[in-house]
Symmetry: C2
Subunit: 323 residues, 2 copies
Amino acid sequence: MQTLESLQQQINRAFSELVFPAAPAELYEPIIYTMQLGGKRLRPLLALASCDMFDGNIEDAIHPAIGIELLHNFTLLHDDLMDQAPLRRGKETVYKKWNATIAILAGDTMFALSNRYMLRTRSEVIPPLLDLFNLTAVEVCEGQQYDMNFETLDDVSIAEYIHMIRLKTAVLLACSLKTGAIIAGAEINQAESLYNFGINVGIAFQLMDDLLDVYGSADKFGKVTGGDIVASKKTFLYLKALELSGIEAGTFKDIYLSHDLSPDQKITAVRSHFDKLGIRDLTLQEINRYWNTAVYTMKSLGLPEEKSHLLMTYCAGLMERDY
Amino acid sequence: MQTLESLQQQINRAFSELVFPAAPAELYEPIIYTMQLGGKRLRPLLALASCDMFDGNIEDAIHPAIGIELLHNFTLLHDDLMDQAPLRRGKETVYKKWNATIAILAGDTMFALSNRYMLRTRSEVIPPLLDLFNLTAVEVCEGQQYDMNFETLDDVSIAEYIHMIRLKTAVLLACSLKTGAIIAGAEINQAESLYNFGINVGIAFQLMDDLLDVYGSADKFGKVTGGDIVASKKTFLYLKALELSGIEAGTFKDIYLSHDLSPDQKITAVRSHFDKLGIRDLTLQEINRYWNTAVYTMKSLGLPEEKSHLLMTYCAGLMERDY
């Protein structure tokens, strides 16, 4: 069994050794820039840890792990353009630093490269692996579309919201885990269970993200608290509050969707309404529900405790909770 | 052996049976719209004909053939956005009919779907097939980048231009042919020769496209003659003329790159300069050179004449020439 540190070292080494062609520079410079922005490299870690859990050879999983990170960064690059986001990880986004055309083409190239990295593993596992990978890519695109639709939709149900974050966030975490399992030669039902573990972790992770935006400290979370409120983002907290607001729903909605209030005024008003309805605890309950399902799914694999320990601890850490 | 008509029928049937998900409609409607614009479906035909030439099962190649067409249409969709082209096959382009965001995301989804279609064949051939496919996708992106670079570059050599059209146009034709060969189980060197055949056909095809824009009839070619001249596109004809212009090079360049003349004036002036230098014949010679290399490469396969007849006739037809 590998340690977290050893897996992270192998990932860091692999990324530091990544080489892209020199020409055309207009195409590869933004790709190199994007990949050097770093990030947690959570998805490669999930892939390697899952491969190790099923006694696979980490060497066989390292290139697909890079492929998954390339896919993830490609989707962020195009999302930033679509959402007109100026910053990513504290640095200018590609479309801002260069232009929209460069962002489109660099992203397309990263997607093609991601598929090429997925192929650098045992040839027997390539058909299911690539099918999973490209199905996941389709789903992530669908998730982004739903997310954009929600911005202008008047009524979004909590079920629709969960469906969206499942597609936009959870499937790629689940795909990362299943990738490691497939490469390690896990049985189909085991790989599928690990996928379901990832879906539940992913949804819980996104709900925690929603919660921390309102109730987290900026220090710990790395971004200014209340950003979703200021941007009128239809998060779980907002949708749950709307559901429970009764006759106050209309007023609350007007405040939340308004762009007339100052950020501070808006955050204060919305938080006070959330507090009154106990939204913090209700969200934590929902996170718990998904996390408990994840734990149950992992246990159903019947692996010895020491095998699943690394993944369980790591995923629990993602949600800043013990299990 | 199959006939051209039989292959085309199978392609048309496969495309008419294509089904995409219904939701999210914002994502799939532009994809369905794009795929229904039709086109010659040249690349699927090349894939099936090549599979048949090596005695492969056409059924094994039909889904990858769709995958190649999806990739091709995805690149056109993103190119149209990057080039701000209002029309494609006489209809509004996706970014015009919808918007840039939809065009980006629909294109991304088509690329992911194209990989999924490539996987629907014999599993033994999937690793080399998908590697070829995604390498080709990278190269097509590089070609588009060079093409855009050339718009603002002062000096483009003929060698650089050929390199660009090789990437932007020829590699996908070559990939289509090699896809059929791989699926049919052709030997590696045979598949590679067919790839080289495709590269040479592709370059000849693009040079003919350049030529017909100036010297073709609008009826036959389906687009207004002289469009490249009006748009100051650095085609083979322009670059060859510049090379041969001697002391007139500066004046000719000024006219060609100018946007002050009326289209008719500009076309007349440029054509008269081309005529003086014999550019028409020089371009035909260059096309012949690539075509002869293609014919030689096909013959080197040592297949009976009746095996290669369909592909040779079809490719010769693409260039409106006998062989």
